[in-house]
């Protein structure tokens, strides 16, 4: 049981880091680009919101499988096939949780507007300098929301994990799978413990986020 909890936290932490690294530049581009096809990209990013996780998991399984060029490249890179491995889970989680990070971060970047960046330029800040010293700090509430939603959403995923991760203890057997197993095996007391723990954990995370975001905004108002 502890192994499942540790694995879940590890997966969620790693996925959140990757999500921020990938999602922040993507959100910046979506907020600032004038490209006509950017909304098409935004729609692709948002797909996991509406698709059944099994559909996503199925295509990931196909794409990362040993018969696809992508899968062969990944196998060469990681030394083993990605499906039914922890690395595969991270990739699946990142794609599955991407809209939960990109949307709030994009909104935060758009709310900043053009002016603070123009001011930064007239004060001698290069675009990269202005991004780091003005855009990121001003978007902090959005980044926090995105990180927490991405983390919590990864902790709570089930369908994608089941499709591409399977149920390997210590490798891919995360909390949600463990709960499912306990219910299947009629070990209701353990299922109760984990399920209640998830409810409490989620509640605390969301409450703390909301309070922190409120404080961040108040400091500025």
């Amino acid at each position: 049981m502890l192994e499942a909890i540790a694995l879940t936290l590890k997966l969620a932490t790693l996925s959140t880091l990757v999500l921020l690294l990938v999602g922040t530049p993507l959100a910046w581009w979506l907020a600032r680009s004038g490209a006509v096809w950017k909304e098409a990209v935004a729609a692709v990013v948002a797909l996991p919101l509406v698709l059944p996780p099994t559909v996503l998991g199925f295509y990931l399984l196909v794409a990362l499988g040993p018969n696809s060029p992508l899968g062969q490249a990944a196998t060469a890179l990681f030394g083993h096939a990605l499906p039914f491995s922890f690395a595969g889970l991270v990739i699946g989680s990142v794609i599955y949780s991407l809209p939960f990070v990109v949307q709030p971060v994009r909104n935060a970047f758009e709310a900043i507007g053009e002016r603070p960046l123009e001011v930064a330029a007239t004060l001698g800040a290069s675009p990269w300098d202005a991004f780091c010293s003005v855009a990121l700090p001003l978007a902090r509430p959005g980044l926090l929301t995105g990180a927490v939603l991405g983390f919590a959403h990864t902790v709570g995923e089930f369908g994608v994990v089941l499709m591409i991760g399977g149920n390997i203890p210590g490798e891919t057997r995360v909390l949600s799978i463990a709960i499912y197993d306990y219910v299947e095996a009629l070990e209701w007391d353990k299922a109760h413990l984990l399920a209640a723990g998830m409810v409490a954990f989620s509640f605390v995370v969301i409450l703390v986020t909301m309070l922190t975001e409120k404080r961040l905004r108040e400091r500025r108002a």
Partner: protein, 355 residues
């Protein structure tokens, strides 16, 4: 004398712009015109915030030519926006430090201490921008712009978002700026009173074109421009206090139009002043009156006489001293006095606004 030379042309949104002008690299130059005349677009193009075709040379440095344009962050400008634009995530002090860390090396400029002192910022330093009044924010924005050590300070209607008292306060700050910072100022405005108070050089814009440019009084008194035909038409004299008569509450001023007696607060002799004389406050007499309550009489020569929007009025340009004065009189009076170009007359000045 070193200059800022600019020529910008092209379409921007709904209008097309084709403006060329040259400004001195000292004092205050105003880009003046109605909303939508392109003055803000020109200012933004000088800063590199807009990309307009053309060329721009500031002193010895080419900032833009046909081949290339320096990016905004590489240009040594200070920019004060209409509404204060302080970084909301930084305290006032940190906003100032942001500019200092990125200041252009090699340029002269006031220090942080000098600016905090002369703009009265000390009590504001630890506060967040959201807790400042509009006038306080604009003071900080001006200080921050100067701390970048700019070669030119650009101001886009910095008073337009302020109410009465704050507006007067910042106007005072702006009048004192040339004493604080060596950077020339390019000031965008559509308010003639601001321009008359602040500008040494005036560029008049309309529909994306330069209609006239030159020293402020020369432009204000040109009767072929709309400026001389408005309600607030008038001349601006520069002067120095010659003496202050405390008993009479009057100050004697040596101006470029001649010696004038004005009501002004006591100030030491030698202090520079700016005098604004409205066209409607100037009358004309053929001989010097001795029985009038008007104290200021200047010998003048009629330069020319032009029609006024009011059909019964005429606008008379008078050469006085080294400069030009405007008088708005009735056609009836003009005919009675038989005024014509070249005639020697007396200009009777009923009111002088002192800055």
């Amino acid at each position: 004398m070193s200059t800022l030379d600019a020529h910008f042309h092209g379409r921007h949104g709904a209008f097309s712009l084709d403006a060329a002008f040259s400004l001195p690299m000292h004092g205050v130059s105003a880009l003046f015109g109605p909303s939508g005349c392109g003055k803000t677009t020109i200012l933004r193009s000088i800063a590199g915030l807009n990309r307009m075709a053309g060329h721009l040379r500031v002193g010895d440095a080419v900032w833009q030519d046909a081949q290339r344009a320096m990016p905004a962050h590489a240009r040594a400008v200070g920019y004060v926006f209409q509404e204060a634009s302080l970084f909301a995530h930084l305290s006032v002090g940190a906003n100032l430090d942001y500019a200092i860390r990125r200041a252009k090396a090699g340029n002269a400029g006031p220090t942080r201490e000098a600016l905090v002192d002369s703009l009265g910022l000390a009590p504001l330093l630890p506060r967040m921008p959201a807790r400042l009044s509009g006038g306080e924010r604009q003071r900080v924005a001006i200080a921050r712009a100067l701390l970048t050590r700019p070669q030119v300070l650009l101001m886009d209607e910095p008073l337009s978002a302020l109410d009465g008292p704050a507006r007067d306060d910042i106007l005072g700050v702006l009048e004192a700026l040339p004493a604080v910072s060596p950077a020339p100022i390019v000031y965008v405005s559509h308010a003639i009173d601001e321009v008359a108070r602040l500008a040494d050089t005036l560029v008049v814009l309309d529909a994306g074109k330069v209609m006239a440019s030159g020293p402020t009084n020369a432009i204000l008194t040109r009767t072929d421009l709309p400026l001389a035909h408005g309600e607030h038409a008038g001349a601006v004299f520069r002067g120095r206090i010659a003496a202050h008569h405390a008993d009479a509450h009057l100050t004697e001023v040596d101006s470029d139009g001649g010696r004038l007696l004005v009501s002004a607060p006591a100030a030491p002799a030698g202090r520079a002043l700016r005098l604004r004389i409205a066209a409607r406050d100037v009358s004309i007499a053929l001989s010097r009156p001795t029985d009038s309550s008007i104290v200021n009489h200047l010998p003048a020569t009629v330069v020319d006489i032009s029609p006024d929007p009011h059909p019964g009025h005429r606008l008379v340009r008078l050469a006085v001293g080294d400069t030009v004065l405007l008088a708005r009189i009735t056609e009836h009076s003009r005919a009675r006095l038989a005024l014509a170009p070249g005639l020697a007359v007396w200009a009777l000045i009923k009111g002088v606004a002192v800055r």
